[in-house]
Every structure is written in C-alpha cells, then in structure tokens.
C-alpha cells in the first residue's frame, strides 16, 4: 500500500473521506444532535476527543492486542475514553452536558470511532492514527455544524439558541423535525458529491483491506460479486 503523507491523512477526513457525508457513518448522532448549532458543535468536539484518544491508544497497542480479542479490547478502550470525556463535559461544560444528554454516552457505539479503530488505527503508526482522528473528528464536527446551522437558522429562526427576528416569518419548521433532518442530510451528501465531482470514494471502491469484516469474511467473495479490489 502506498504510504500516505501526514497532511493527506489529516485532510482526508474533512471532505474527501468525510465520515458523515461520504462514508455515511454516525448517522444516528448526526440526525439527533443537529437541531441546534451549539449542540452539534459540542457533539463534534466530544467525538473528536474520543476519536483522537482511542486512535492513539489502539495504534500504540496494535502489536499487543491479539487478533481474536481486538473488538472487546477496542470497546473497552472506546467506552473508557467516552466516560472520561463525559465526566469532563459534566464537570466543565454542564450546559452542553444537558443539551447532549444520552447522545454523549452513545459515542461509544458511534460507527466512526470503531470504524477508524478497525480500518486505520490498528494498521498505522501512532502519529498517523492521531492525525486521522483529528481529520475525521474535524470532518464530523464540520458536517454536523453546517447541518445544524441550516436546520436551526431556517427551521427555528434561531442561531445557537438566540432568536433571529427577521427570519421569524420565514422559518420552515419541517427542518427541525426528523424528516427535515433527513432531507438536509441527503442534500448535503449530494452537494459533496458535486463538489468532489464524484471523486470521493463510493462504497464499491473500498478495497477488501479497508473493509471492517475483511479478517472474518471469505476472501475472494467480494471480487466474485464484482466489487473492485
């Protein structure tokens, strides 16, 4: 595999392999926490912190963690860091803690964290894994914040909880509801596809190596079914 530069590892997650809009991971918190800009931004930063810490820790231990025990080990590490972040947010940002509610705990099962541990951190150096965590975390935060901006400003006529008086008459309340969230999500995915001129990886272009199930699936089945390697 061609060695990637540190900068490309860092920038990959922001647009080209954006975890939310290109890899379509972490959809649940994306739809749930994008009602307000501050909630979405806080969620993004919390996930970024967990992503960086877990990526570093998993990369450090990648030669020690036995292959057959890797998922339980990853879960313990990720759940541990989520609890640490939760305690820090509860202590120092109590308002954000109330806003995020149960979704802070649910970072543990966020596909992005486990996905990057499995697809990247257990195969790469500590520095690259940390940069991947920062890039993916920033990509996640950016996607959530932009989506929340659209939903909150146009749906509720507020920004970070502050009313925007001239928008009051033109707000589209549908955007604050779940179907509105899905609509904005779909439009943003389409926009990224247009911006990247379709060059962002699609599911079919992921190699067997990058697949989370690569070690357990029967090699060759993907190729037989026409998936590119």
């Amino acid at each position: 595999m061609k060695e990637k530069s540190s900068l490309s590892v860092l920038l990959n997650g922001i647009i080209k392999e954006n975890p939310v809009l290109v890899l379509v991971l972490g959809t649940c918190p994306t739809l749930a926490t994008t009602k307000t800009v501050d909630g979405a931004f806080g969620m993004g930063l919390a996930a970024l912190a967990v992503l960086v810490c877990s990526n570093i820790f998993i990369s450090m231990l990648r030669k020690i963690i036995p292959e057959s025990m890797r998922i339980p080990c990853y879960i313990v590490i990720i759940a541990g860091f989520v609890t640490i972040v939760k305690m820090l947010v509860q202590a120092f940002l109590p308002d954000l803690y109330v806003t995020l509610g149960v979704f802070l705990d649910l970072i543990t099962v966020n596909c992005i964290i486990l996905g990057r541990a499995e697809m990247f951190a257990n195969k790469n150096t500590v520095i690259h894994s940390a940069l991947d965590g920062v890039g993916m975390g920033l990509g996640f935060t950016l996607a959530l914040t932009v989506m929340a901006f659209i939903r909150e400003v146009f749906g509720a006529a507020t920004f970070a909880g502050n009313a925007i008086p001239f928008m009051e008459e033109y707000k589209i309340e549908f955007l604050t509801k779940a179907p509105g969230g899905l609509l904005v999500f779909g439009l943003m995915i389409a926009l990224i596809y247009v911006v990247t001129k379709g060059k962002a990886p699609t599911k079919k272009s992921f190699s067997c190596e990058g697949c989370p199930l690569a070690s357990t699936c029967q090699k060759g089945v993907c190729q037989a079914e026409g998936v590119e390697n």
């Binding site: 020690i64 963690i65 036995p66 590490i77 759940a79 541990g80 640490i84 305690m87 509610g101």
Partner: protein
C-alpha cells in the same frame, strides 16, 4: 491454553489501565460535578417556585411517599414545597423538580437531568403550571414520546400528592 492465558492477560491489562484513567479523572471531576448539581438544584428551586425565597430540605424518612421522591424542600415563608423525583421514561435517570403551593397547585416544573432521546422532557413541564391534581389528568401526552411524557405526568401527580401529604402533616391548607 497458553494463547487463552495471553489473551486474557492482555485484556485484563487494558481494563486495568482504563480503570486507572477513569479513577484519576473521577477523582478530579467528582467534586466539581457535585457542586454543579447543587447549583442546578438551587437554580431549579427558584425556577419552579418563583415566589419562593429561601428553601430548606425536609426529612422525608418518616413519611410514606412514592418511591420516585428523592428529596423535598420547603419554602420557609410557607409558599409551598418543591419535590425532586427520579423516574424512568424511555431511559432511566429522568430527574424532575416540581413546585407545589399549599393549595396543591403546581407552580412550575423542570427536568434537570435525563437520558431521553427526543428532548420533550425539556419543555413538557410547561403544561402543568397552575394546574391541580384533577386538571393534571387532562394534560395530553405527546405521540412519539409517550413513555417520556407519561412518566413525566406521573411524576408530577406524585409530586402534588407528596406536597399534599406534607402540607396536611404540617397543618397546611390541604
């Protein structure tokens, strides 16, 4: 056998390291979290009973009250009681504070902690202000958040009943 032991040892070591990190974080954050909770409770007391000025905690160990009731505060000027309850909606740990005046009318309610997913518990309490036990029954729960809002409603009913019991014991109007 040797592989199993090695795997087990690695797993236990990782658990040990994470436990150490968690314990250290908890050591530093626990007092701050406790202080935050106290501040939130004090803020909520004023919010749910705007006419109240000073509050004192009531010893509820001698009363037979609903299990959800965890703390009760009495407004020292005799305005009423604020009842703190912990209930379960869609998830557990929904903490509600409800102010009730001496006539058994709700003066305000707020949710200070929850693990609900939709967020209705943050605004649903507004429906109970200035209502007594009979009127609370007519408040509709929210479709799509039935468990959360039903649990909230039951908690408010329990709060009013608790306040009525305490008011009766202390020679209040009810």
């Amino acid at each position: 056998m040797k592989t199993y032991l090695k795997n087990l040892l690695v797993f236990i070591s990782i658990c040990g390291v994470m436990t150490l990190l968690l314990a250290t974080t908890n050591y530093f954050t626990a007092p701050i979290i406790k202080e935050n909770e106290r501040t939130a409770t004090n803020k909520a007391l004023k919010e749910v009973m705007p006419k109240g000025e000073t509050f004192e905690m009531v010893d509820i160990s001698t009363f037979t009250l609903p299990e959800k009731v965890t703390e009760v505060y009495k407004e020292t000027g005799g305005v009423g009681y604020v009842v703190k309850l912990t209930t379960s909606g869609y998830g557990s740990g929904m903490v509600i504070m409800c102010g009730v005046d001496m006539n058994g009318t709700v003066t305000g309610t707020t949710c200070i902690a929850s693990n609900e997913t939709l967020g209705y518990e943050k605004t649903f309490g507004e429906n109970f202000t200035n209502k007594n036990n009979a009127e609370i029954d007519s408040v509709d729960t929210v479709a799509g958040a039935t468990k959360t809002t039903e649990a909230y409603k039951d908690a408010v009913i329990d709060a009013v009943n608790t306040a009525n019991v305490l008011a009766k014991e202390n020679g209040g109007a009810k």
